[in-house]
Amino acid sequence: MRGDGVHEIELTVNGVVRRAQVSPETTLLAALRDSWGLTGSKLGCDVGDCGACTVLVDGLSINSCLLLAVQANGRDVVTIEGLGGFEYLHPLQAAFERLSSYQCGFCAPGMIISAKALLDENPAPTELQIREALSGNLCRCTGYTKVIDAITEVCRDHAGAVGVEQSV
């Protein structure tokens, strides 16, 4: 705390230590987007209903619009930018690309983080479990079918290759 209403925060974002000076009411979402240019996480509703801002904090998927940046101090954050880049795609991203699971793409980052959180905990979910895990991520374009298909494909393809401990 700097005494003039500004807090210095330091946290790990996608494996890299990041610092910023933020006023207390700054949400983690705003810090990611404005302080560090990580605009992959989106602002859809700002009240934790749509899930477009979903990121992982210490491995748990949360709505970054409802977490203060100061609360994320010292924690480990993973955003969509941390899953893969243009050259290297995470298996989930590759599956979503293969199946063209997204149309406008605005829900994609949050949805993909939720999918990863699911598979980190449960590498072989049923369709119902996939739907429940994604129920906090809204999509207005697609009807979710190809998102679920892609996740199912990833689980199938990795069932033999990936052990239970290893996160997908």
Binding site: E25, V47, L60, I62, L66, Q71, G136
Partner: protein
């Protein structure tokens, strides 16, 4: 959001001192899933937001001589995954999984859910059916109240302005009591309950020795359907007619409203169906145990 001062005490004493010193200028922050939404919709927010996630007395789930103690800061996800809850009060898990979505459950706390106290709160009915007590603390000391006396009205609890909710206790006598929970909503996820209902039973020598039926979302606070309970008590297990009678009686004890989500008439239907089902399921649990 309007700016505020952010403090994060690391002991209960510090937290309570701050609350006493600042009074209504201060708001405690637990999971944030309710508070931050409120702060985003007002220009008259608190001057100080106090993050209580670092207060150790608010955490943990443990067995005590008095019963199962659940810290106020325990999240809904932690409840879902707690072996002690699965063992002693699995209906709490059935309720927790209906709250919001994965993201909300990872942040939202049981204490926050109780303190926000909306009529449709999902953690309410099961805890009321389990005779839960809540502990509150201010600088002056601690006190404990039955949950039914903690809930005063929509968004109104017995919590004094300088008090924090510390924990929830399920008394020993109610641990392992066969309990069932049902929530009816317009969706299966991210849904506000139209009606939620919990019931448990104690079976002795083929008869229902004790029962609790708790209804939520159909009254200003969660209520016990005591008349319905009276109909079932002492009856033989297997008498489904009495369960139906109890379900119809429960309807008369509720005061559901008409709103854009559902009509009062439809909610009455749901109360009847829901009460019957949770009684039936609780009995099934009791007789196969």
């Amino acid at each position: 959001m309007k700016t505020f001062e952010y403090i994060a005490p690391e002991s209960l004493d510090d937290a309570l001192e701050a609350m006493e010193r600042h009074g209504s200028d201060l708001k405690p922050l637990a999971g944030g899933t309710d508070l931050l939404v409120d702060l985003k919709h007002t220009l008259n927010g608190p001057r100080i937001v106090m993050d209580i996630s670092g207060v150790p007395e608010l955490r943990g789930i443990e067995e005590t001589p008095a019963g199962l103690r659940i810290g106020a800061m325990v999240t809904h996800t932690e409840i879902e995954q707690a072996p002690l809850i699965a063992e002693h009060a699995p209906a709490m898990i059935a309720a927790a999984v209906t709250i919001g979505a994965v993201q909300t459950r990872n942040m939202g706390t049981i204490g926050g859910n109780l303190v926000t106290c909306v009529p449709s709160l999902d953690s309410g009915p099961v805890l009321v059916a389990l005779d839960a007590l809540v502990t509150m603390a201010g600088v002056g000391g601690k006190r404990q109240l039955p949950l039914t006396e903690f809930f005063l009205g929509p968004r109104q609890t017995a919590l004094a302005p300088d008090e924090l909710l510390i924990d929830i206790l399920i008394p020993t006598a109610m641990l392992g009591r066969p309990t069932s929970f049902r929530k009816f909503g317009l969706r299966k996820g991210q849904a506000l309950a139209l009606v939620n209902v919990a019931a448990n039973v104690k079976v002795e020598e083929g008869r229902i020795a004790e029962t609790r039926i708790a209804l939520g979302a159909v009254s200003p606070t969660v209520i016990r359907a005591v008349n319905a309970e009276g109909i079932v008590t002492g009856k033989e297990v297997g008498d489904t007619a009495v369960l139906r009678e109890a379900a119809q009686t429960a309807v008369t004890e509720a005061r559901p409203i008409d709103d854009f989500r559902a009509s009062a008439a439809y909610r009455r239907e749901l109360i009847a169906v829901g009460t019957f089902r949770v009684l039936e399921e609780a009995l099934a649990q009791a007789t196969t145990a």
